[in-house]
Subunit: 285 residues, 2 copies
């Protein structure tokens, strides 16, 4: 048991269910917009025959229907739904019903730490109904408008994030069981640090729970996150302490909440990094 | 003059005005949410005295007014406006008027290529009126709700992106004149590749326009972008070609538009990477 009463064990390092999505560190995800969004309105002559993409393609339907086969599995894409077609999947599709099939297709890649394909880590439903639909419609409208104006790449990116964040939330089923690699392990560590930042011994604990040696763990952490675990934890502790001080908590409580067991040491470290003392920071806010 | 009639010269490598914002490659920006968003409703007793942050803090006002001094320069923050306080800026603030000052404060960092502080590259207005305000309000409401539920980190990230993209759009004045470094240079190259992807000689041209040696240019490109310029250009050419084919253009035209001077060579490269021929891809879509 830690000083804060939170148990920390190798078991906690396992990723489960929604925790994975809720605890993702989005700053480690890179979203690549590979092509401009493509809006189509197709009649009954339309079909996709025996195609395979090299990246991800998110189809979102605004009217009509289409029948998709992904590796021969059937999906009916209707208005208000999104379908994700992953790379190396055999795609067939055809128009369905009487109305024109109106949809947007967006090619992208989503990589964790700029390297690992995000969707390869999880089991997900390819076809989901996305809510709130009116908001998604608005986003898409602005998204495709921006594209036509050929400006606002930053806004376009923000919009696609919004759509994808919703899609992932609805489509996520679980983390793949057979995935156990250093990327997931580091993601896990990041989540555990967030959860247990009040535990003064979190740095020692994550290293002792690691299946790898301390040196190797610190090495891959540094490579993927950009700083060593100790620096990262200190940064998170100071952020947490500042948040507490800003919200009006006493210095002692801010120190404890941020995982500093010694208030004097906390003040020293705080002053060193923030150039003012915790009390000054608190008074200043 | 290139084959496509677009002139490409060292002059083109200079970054100017809005081009910088419109041509940013958002996949190279990392947004770090350093603290949870902090909502405050303050009466006339409130003030910030002589404080300095180590990161960025975006204040957005929903009611009432406050008077801020950033390095002694006065800004009046009113409802519907956002104020960005950068690191190492001397901040003073106090309540103003009769109403409570209601605002959100969001600590974050925005880094290009995970290393370089984004706002240090540009001149910007710290105080802007953000439009459309009703949309921003909605985003903030959902943003802070998400925070209270302690879930949906991905959505929170998407929301903050949306707010920041708008802020940057309105606040941007120019790229700092005295900035000339390898980050900006690589950002510039990325923009030029995008603009001139139809030019079959773009790869040779960017290297010949570089103020650095070809080896050094390729080296920093690879370090920051993750692949060598030649690979990156090929990827962009194939994306462009696929987009053209998907939109129904003939193979010959897709090849030319994507900067392949030879249609046969295009088909060979396409087949090698996409596992199907351009005609099959076109027919399949």
């Amino acid at each position: 048991m830690s000083a804060t009463g939170i148990e920390f064990s190798r078991k906690n390092m396992e990723i489960s269910g929604n925790d994975f999505i809720n605890n993702l560190h989005p700053e480690n995800l890179r979203l690549f917009i590979n092509q401009n969004p493509f809006c189509q309105s197709r009649d009954s002559s339309w079909s996709i025959t025996n195609t395979c993409y090299r990246d991800y393609d998110l189809f979102t339907c605004f009217g009509g229907e289409a029948c998709f086969y992904l590796n021969s599995r059937e999906f009916i894409l209707k208005s208000g739904m999104s379908l994700l077609v992953g790379p190396d999947i055999q795609v067939e599709a055809r128009h369905r019903g009487c109305e024109n099939f109106r949809a947007t297709a967006q090619h992208f890649d989503l990589k964790i730490f700029g390297e690992l394909d995000f969707f390869s880590l999880i089991e997900y439903r390819p076809l989901v109904k996305i809510l709130p639909w009116d908001e998604i419609c608005r986003s898409y409208r602005e998204y495709t408008d921006l594209n036509e104006k050929q400006t606002g790449r930053l806004l376009q990116h923000a919009r696609l994030w919004q759509i994808l964040a919703r899609f992932i939330e609805y489509a996520f089923i679980s983390v793949k069981k057979n995935i156990e690699n250093r990327y997931l392990f580091i993601m896990n560590i990041l989540t555990e640090i967030d959860r247990h930042i009040s535990d003064p011994e979190i740095d020692r604990k994550i290293l002792s729970c690691s299946p790898y040696s301390a040196d190797y763990t610190c090495g891959i952490f540094k490579k993927l996150v950009g700083m060593r675990p100790r620096e990262y934890i200190l940064k998170k502790r100071l952020d947490r302490a500042k948040e507490m001080l800003q919200r009006g908590f006493p210095v002692k409580e801010a120190a404890r909440e941020a995982g500093f067991s010694d208030e004097l040491y906390f003040s020293k470290v705080f002053k060193l990094h923030e150039k003012i003392t915790p009390s000054e920071y608190k008074a200043g806010n």
